[in-house]
C-alpha cells in the first residue's frame, strides 16, 4: 500500500470512529494513531467496542474473529485498527 493510501485510510478510520461513536469534541488531529482507544486514551468503553465492531463490518465488510483477545488487540489503537482493515477489508 502506498503512503498516500495509508494516510487516506488513517483519516477515513478517524472519521469512522468519530461518526460511529458520536464523539463531539474529538477532531481528526486529536486521535493519536498509537495512543490507546479504550480506557485512559480516547476513553472509549464496552458499548463503543460493540459499536465499532458493527461499523467495521458495515464499512469494510470485516468480520471479527471469535478469539476475543485478538479482537481487543485490533482495537488497541488506531494503528492496530488500520492494520486490521488493510489486511482484512473485502471491499
Amino acid at each position: 500500500m502506498t503512503e498516500t493510501c495509508h494516510q487516506t485510510l488513517e483519516i477515513e478510520l478517524k472519521r469512522l470512529i468519530i461518526d460511529a461513536l458520536e464523539l463531539e469534541d474529538i477532531t481528526l488531529a486529536d486521535i493519536d494513531p498509537h495512543a490507546p482507544l479504550f480506557g485512559e486514551g480516547l476513553g472509549l468503553d464496552s458499548i463503543d467496542a460493540l459499536e465499532l465492531g458493527l461499523a467495521l463490518q458495515k464499512q469494510y465488510g470485516i468480520k471479527l474473529d471469535s478469539e476475543a483477545d485478538e479482537t481487543r488487540r485490533h482495537f488497541a489503537s488506531l494503528a492496530a485498527l488500520q492494520a486490521l482493515v488493510e489486511a482484512r477489508r473485502v471491499n
Partner: protein, 565 residues
C-alpha cells in the same frame, strides 16, 4: 437435571465434568481444585466480609465458594473503578487478591469441615445506586437466593444445558442466572469474553459440539448490537436467551430471536427485589410475575411481596411506573432520577454530586438525552473565570471532568456530551425543561446548527445569544482542509436564523450591508451573537474572547402591514 439449593453445597455433591468442553467452561473438577487453593489462602486470614472483584467466572466462583464454606461473606462491588474499590475496601475485613498464589501445603488439612450453610446467614453484599444518588449496599441471605434460584429452576430448567453469560456476575441478575443456577444444577457455564458477539458464536458452537443445549444470559446492550453476518446457524439454537438490566425494544427482541433462533425471555427486577416478572415480548407484551411474587398496583405504582426480598412478608414499593393490564402489567419507566445505560443503573443525582465536588463546578445537571445509545449529557455551571473559550480549553476541561468521574463511575455512565454555561437555561417556571435540553444538544443531530448555550434579551429589540462552533459542523468540511473555519456566509445565515427565532421575522432576504469579517471563527470557539431589530431588518455582531469576528446588517422584507416598503 437435579436442583440442589446453595445451602446444600451443590458444588460438593455434583459432578459436571464435560471432557469435550474447552477449559474456559467451568466444570466441577477444575472448580474443586481452585476452591481448595482459596481455603488454603484464607486459613490464616480474618473472618467476616471480604471484597471480591473478579471477572473470570472460574476464579470468581472458587473464591466465592471458599468464602461461603469458611463462614465468610462476599462483598461484590458493582464495578472495578479505583474509587469504588477503595471506598468499599475500608468497610470490609479484607480484599481478595486476583489469585490465591502458589500452593504451599496439602489442601486437605486446611479445608474446613464442610457442613450445610445456614439459610439465614448473609451470602453476598451487592452494590447499587440508591434513589438518593448514593451507592447503597444490599445484603442477600442464602434463603433469598435459594428461593429465587428455585423459581428459575421451575420456570427455566437447565436440562443438558451449557450456560453462556454475557453479563457481569457482580450484579444480581448475572450472579443468579449466569453462575448460581448452573452451579445448583451441575450445568457447565462460561462468561468473561463471551460478551463479544464473535466469542458468543464460538461458545455456542462449543456447547453444541459437546451435545449441550446452550442458554444465553445477555442484556439489551448486547442483543441490540448483534451483527447479522456471524455464523449463528452453525450451532444448536439456544434453548432460551435471557435479557435483563434495562428495557429491550421490541425491534431488538425480534432481531435477537431471528438471529439466535431462540425465545428471548426478559426478566424485570432490581438489586433490592431480585426478579419481579418476566415476559417474552415477541409473543406477549405484558409482564407476568415470577412464581411466589405477589403484586399490587396503586396510583400507577407497583408494590410487591416476594420471597426474594429481605423481608418477604412486607410490601415493597418499587420506584417504577406501571400500568396494570388483564394478565400482568406494562412498564412505563422510572419514577425517580435513575437511568439505565448499557444495563447499569446510573443515578443522575450521583453523577451531579460527583461533578459539584469539583472546585470549578458550581452546579451540574445530568440529563438523559433519550438517545438510542443511551449516552448522558451534562449541563455544567461554571464560574465566569472557568468558562472555556477555545477548543483546547474546552477539551482539557472535559478530559479533567471525565477523568474525575472515571474514578467513581463505570465508563458507560460517564456523560459523553458536555455543555458549559454560566447559568442553567430555564423556562418561565424557572426549570430546565425538555425543550431547553433539546436546544442545548440540538447540534448533535443537526450538523448545521451552532451549539446553543443560552440567550437573554438585552431590551425589547436586542438579544444576546451564547453559542459555540461544533467540531462536527457540516460547513467546516472542505473549507480550508488544514485550517477549518466557519465560512462567512454561515455566520450571516445563523444571524438570520436566530432573528427569525427570537423576533419572529419572516421577511424575505433583501440584502446585506456594512458587512465586515474581521477575524476567523474556529471550531470549538465560544462566541456571542448579538441581534438588534431594525426597521428594515436586523443588525448583528459576532464576538468572542478574542474580539469581533463579524458584524453587519441584514435587510429583510418587512412582514405584511409593517412600516417598511
Amino acid at each position: 437435571m437435579t436442583f440442589i439449593s446453595l445451602t446444600q453445597l451443590p458444588w460438593r455433591n455434583l459432578s459436571f465434568r464435560h471432557e469435550c468442553l474447552p477449559n474456559h467452561w467451568v466444570c466441577s473438577a477444575s472448580l474443586a481444585l481452585h476452591i481448595d487453593e482459596w481455603h488454603l489462602w484464607l486459613a490464616d486470614k480474618p473472618a467476616g466480609r471480604w471484597l471480591l472483584c473478579q471477572q473470570q467466572p472460574l476464579a470468581f466462583c472458587a473464591a466465592l465458594i471458599a468464602l461461603w464454606e469458611s463462614g465468610r461473606v462476599a462483598v461484590l462491588p458493582a464495578d472495578d473503578r479505583p474509587g469504588t474499590l477503595s471506598r468499599l475496601a475500608s468497610e470490609v475485613d479484607g480484599t481478595l487478591p486476583d489469585a490465591p498464589g502458589p500452593r504451599l501445603a496439602k489442601s486437605a488439612e486446611t479445608r474446613p469441615r464442610v457442613v450445610p450453610l445456614d439459610p439465614s446467614a448473609t451470602a453476598v453484599v451487592l452494590s447499587t445506586s440508591g434513589s438518593t444518588g448514593n451507592p447503597v449496599q444490599l445484603a442477600k441471605r442464602f434463603d433469598q437466593l435459594d428461593a429465587e434460584l428455585s423459581a428459575h429452576a421451575q420456570l427455566w430448567p437447565l436440562t443438558d444445558s451449557g450456560v453462556i453469560s454475557q453479563v457481569s456476575h457482580q450484579h444480581i441478575y448475572g450472579l443468579l442466572t449466569g453462575i448460581l443456577h448452573p452451579l445448583c444444577t451441575s450445568t457447565p457455564f462460561c462468561g468473561g469474553e463471551s460478551r463479544y458477539p464473535e466469542t458468543l458464536v464460538t461458545r455456542l458452537q462449543e456447547a453444541s459440539a459437546a451435545g449441550l443445549h446452550p442458554v444465553v444470559v445477555s442484556s439489551p446492550a448486547q442483543l441490540s448490537r448483534l451483527p447479522e453476518h456471524l455464523a449463528w446457524h452453525a450451532a444448536t439454537p439456544p434453548a432460551r436467551v435471557f435479557s435483563s438490566g434495562a428495557p429491550l425494544s421490541q425491534a431488538h427482541a425480534q432481531l435477537a430471536e431471528r438471529l439466535l433462533q431462540a425465545p428471548v425471555i426478559e426478566i424485570y427486577g432490581s438489586t433490592e427485589t431480585g426478579g419481579i416478572a418476566q415476559r417474552r415480548q415477541t409473543s406477549h407484551s405484558a409482564w407476568q410475575p415470577l412464581p411466589g411474587v405477589a403484586l399490587a398496583f396503586q396510583d400507577g405504582g407497583l408494590s410487591l411481596r416476594s420471597p426474594f426480598l429481605e423481608m418477604p412478608q412486607q410490601w415493597w414499593h418499587q420506584p417504577d411506573l406501571v400500568a396494570p393490564v388483564d394478565d400482568g402489567f406494562m412498564l412505563l419507566g422510572r419514577a425517580d432520577r435513575l437511568v439505565k445505560i448499557g444495563g447499569r443503573r446510573v443515578s443522575l443525582d450521583h453523577v451531579e454530586c460527583l461533578l459539584t465536588a469539583l472546585e470549578e463546578v458550581s452546579e451540574a445537571r445530568c440529563v438523559d438525552l433519550d438517545r438510542t445509545d443511551g449516552r448522558l449529557g451534562a449541563v455544567v455551571v461554571l464560574e465566569h473565570a472557568f468558562i472555556p473559550h477555545q477548543r483546547d480549553a474546552r477539551q482539557c476541561l472535559i478530559q479533567r471532568l471525565r477523568a474525575h468521574l472515571f474514578d467513581h463511575l463505570e465508563p458507560v455512565a460517564v456523560p459523553r456530551y458536555w455543555r458549559f454555561v454560566e447559568t442553567v437555561p430555564s423556562n418561565t417556571q424557572g426549570k430546565l425543561d425538555r425543550t431547553l435540553i433539546n436546544r442545548l444538544f440540538a447540534d448533535l443531530d443537526d450538523p448545521k446548527e451552532p451549539r446553543w448555550l443560552g440567550e437573554h434579551l438585552l431590551d425589547a429589540n436586542s438579544c444576546l445569544l451564547t453559542l459555540e462552533v461544533p467540531e462536527r459542523l457540516a460547513f467546516l468540511e472542505g473549507h480550508f482542509d488544514e485550517y477549518p473555519i466557519v465560512p462567512g456566509v454561515v455566520m450571516v445565515q445563523w444571524a438570520i436564523h436566530y432573528a427569525h427565532d427570537i423576533f419572529g421575522h419572516r421577511g424575505l432576504f433583501l440584502g446585506i450591508e456594512r458587512l465586515k469579517f474581521t477575524r476567523a471563527l474556529l471550531p470549538g470557539t465560544r462566541f456571542t451573537l448579538q441581534l438588534t431589530r431594525r426597521e428594515d431588518g436586523i443588525a448583528f455582531s459576532i464576538d468572542s474572547q478574542e474580539g469581533r469576528h463579524c458584524a453587519g446588517q441584514v435587510r429583510l422584507q418587512a412582514p405584511k402591514g409593517g412600516q417598511h416598503g
